[in-house]
Amino acid sequence: MAQLFVDTREDVYRYLLTLGVHPPKAQETVQEVFLRLYSTLRKGEKIESLRGWVFRVAHNLGLKVRARQETEEAFEPQLERQLTAPAETVEQDLLEREKMVRFHRAVEDLSEQQKRCLFLRMEGLHYPEIASTLGISASAVGEFLRRAFLRLRKVRDE
């Protein structure tokens, strides 16, 4: 359990940031998720995939936290600004950074569901686990991912 917390907390935290939760709330949410996990296991409930469970609960809690943030803006990490910040880099790096900016924009342009499927896939979740997190079918996950990949692929061709 402690090991799972150490191994997973940063991943879940990062996922919550991509969901628009502000950093302090995201960190609190991660801790809350693991307390819920402990409590659930102590009650003797069987959990098939602990990682899948953690992301599902984090996603649901994250959405609630984000909804409560309605007075403030959703968290925006300003990645593009960081990526385009002037730096002394060789031309190759510059090209890589430009490509990354284009890729980031393409990710931002994906539909919310496509983006969720993509981020959860990047965290190593299987399609049925992603499906259970988002409350959709595994075949829908396959379809969202296919469309997302189709759009991201265009960045390579540009």
Binding site: L79, L118, Y127
Partner: protein
């Protein structure tokens, strides 16, 4: 080429295939299609490129997103709060419910509830065993890490069959003694640190990895330290190879004793000793070592490997047993043979990295074993060769009939996926069993010691038991379908009773191959002469033959 191979796979199938989300059968269909379709291969390469972009993007996110604003909280305290509240809740709920059900007056229910709340507050001042255990271990780890690392410690290791002293510590090289090889495998399988087993850290790491466990913490007095009160933590785990472990600490939180009880009845006791030459801790441990508390069970993994000057079939058996333990004897491209006085294990491309590591480890601890890596894949398994490449373009009539019975193409896919997966799992066992039968024919078997013979029988039993389960499941699915298609088992051969298990294993091999060929023909993975009207009866008879051969073999390896 079959119709499945000619069609392009569904739009999301390539990504699913790369993500490992396709069933075994579907993945094989896609792979076969890729072998013949350049367009889909290009598509696949593009997808791989986009997946690599995603990985870079994820790395960029990790580097650029803000760090957590606070240090991470120590959740143990919160866990103890949860433990206490659960314990109180359940007691309160239980007692209140029983009072209400017994028809006690309302004032009595309220009074008892109030009393329980008071008791709960008192209870919160104490700790539950799991919290006590976690806290104690945490403190013991901190104590151990605050001390300067000992250059060398000595531990007495005792199992049901052997006893020896072992040096541990940062400057001690791994001891490649033959007697420890089997123990190392045992510890590895249980995910218990072999390098420093008698330590709070090793115990804590194992305990933390257990999703379901029960702890007890007791005060004990141990013979080697009669004047001191020690604390013992015992943790019983629901899953994993290690069923229970207990560790005993002195008042200064130094670990002095440990007992590990494995799920297969093996046990290992570790005792800290000060002077290995006398085997005593302050001169008292050697005397205090008792005879094993249980009768020494024959270990399922041979605990004593005694390699002679050159490798024998006994060594070969140990290697096969170790491969089985690792899980590398079921379809991994690994070969082993006796050559120039060594057991040479050859790994071809495609052995999973964790298996590779475990096999390399094996060679470190078994002096007569040499591990080689070869780039080329070994010759394909005969079952694959037996499957003739399909050449027709439409589904065979038998497939249409099956699909019609099942009601839809999707149902057919599900049905065939299940059957082909079971068939593949069965064939893996059949090959592993046949390999044993060929390596140890009756005359070689006669040269084995009784312990080795037990090991060989155990391996054979394991393979036949799983095979029986898979064949049973396959029959359960197939026979109703075959019967509905007009099949009978009338052509099954009369059962043959062998005198030894090896020829029975060979018969299993023959019968399984017939089943495999007919199943793949029926489901369109291959075409063949018998894909016609006789297939339902032929397959039903082949399944019955296989079952009879299997019964015969299981009788002989009992």
């Amino acid at each position: 080429m079959s119709s499945f191979e000619m069609r392009h796979p569904e739009e999301d199938a390539l990504l699913r295939c790369l993500d490992g989300e396709l069933s075994g059968r579907k993945a094989r269909q896609v792979e076969r299609h890729l072998g013949t379709c350049g367009q889909c291969r290009t598509e696949l390469e593009e997808l791989k490129g986009t997946i690599a972009d995603c990985a870079n993007y994820q790395a960029m996110l990790a580097a650029n997103l803000p760090e957590p604003p606070q240090p991470w909280r120590d959740l143990y305290r919160d866990f103890s709060r949860i433990d206490e509240s659960l314990a109180n809740d359940s007691l309160l709920v239980r007692v209140t419910r029983s009072l209400v059900h017994s028809g006690a007056p309302r004032w009595a229910v309220a009074g008892v509830s109030a009393l329980l709340v008071v008791m709960g507050v008192y209870y919160q001042l104490r700790q539950t065993p799991s919290v006590q255990a976690a806290t104690l271990l945490k403190r013991a780890v901190a104590v151990a890490e605050a001390k300067p690392p000992a250059v060398r410690r000595h531990i007495r290791v005792r199992t049901g069959t052997q006893q020896f002293t072992r040096a541990v510590g940062p400057q001690v090289a791994m001891m490649p003694a033959a007697q420890t090889a089997a123990l190392i495998l045992l510890f590895q399988a249980a995910h218990y640190d072999w390098n420093d087993p008698l330590s709070a850290r090793a115990f804590q790491t194992w305990r933390d990895a257990q999703p379901e466990k029960t702890d007890t913490v007791t005060k004990v007095s141990i013979p080697q330290l009669p004047a001191e009160t020690c604390t013992r933590i015992r943790t019983e785990a629901v899953e994993g190879d290690l069923a229970a472990a207990s560790i005993t600490f002195t008042a200064d939180l130094a670990p002095v004793e440990e007992r590990l009880e494995f799920r297969d009845q093996e046990w290992v006791e570790l005792t800290e000793i000060a002077d290995p030459s006398t085997g005593s801790s302050g001169g008292s441990v050697a005397q205090s070592v008792e005879e094993p508390v249980r009768a020494a069970e024959p270990p399922s993994r041979s605990a004593a490997l005694s390699p002679g000057p050159s490798a024998s079939i006994s060594d070969e058996l140990q290697v096969l047993s170790a491969l089985n333990l690792i899980g590398a004897d079921l379809g991994d491209p690994v070969e082993e043979k006796l050559s120039n006085g060594k057991v040479v294990v050859t790994m071809y491309e495609g052995v999973p990295p964790d298996h590779q590591k475990a096999i390399q480890e094996l060679a470190t601890h078994m002096p007569n074993v040499e591990v080689r890596m070869e780039a080329q894949v070994a010759a394909p398994a005969p079952a694959a060769a037996a499957s003739a490449p399909a050449t027709n373009s439409g589904p065979a009539p038998i497939q249409s009939s099956v699909e019609k019975k099942l009601g839809s193409h999707a149902e057919f896919e599900r049905f065939s996926g299940m059957v082909l997966d079971l068939d593949e799992q069965s064939m893996q066992r059949v090959y592993a069993l046949r390999r044993l039968a060929q390596k140890f024919p009756p005359d070689s078997e006669a040269q084995l010691s009784s312990k080795d013979l037990d090991l060989l029988r155990e391996l054979s039993r394991k393979h036949t038991a799983v095979l029986a389960e898979k064949v049973g499941a396959m029959e359960h699915i197939l026979v109703p379908m075959l019967t509905s298609l007009g099949g009978t088992a009338a052509n099954a051969r009369p059962a043959v009773q062998h005198a030894s298990w090896q020829p029975a294993a060979e018969d299993i091999y023959g019968a399984s191959n017939r089943v495999h060929l007919l199943v793949t023909q029926m489901l369109g993975a291959t075409v063949g002469d018998s894909a016609g009207a006789n297939l339902p009866s032929n397959l039903q008879a082949a399944l019955k033959d296989l079952q009879a051969n299997l019964d015969d073999c299981r009788r002989l390896v009992k």
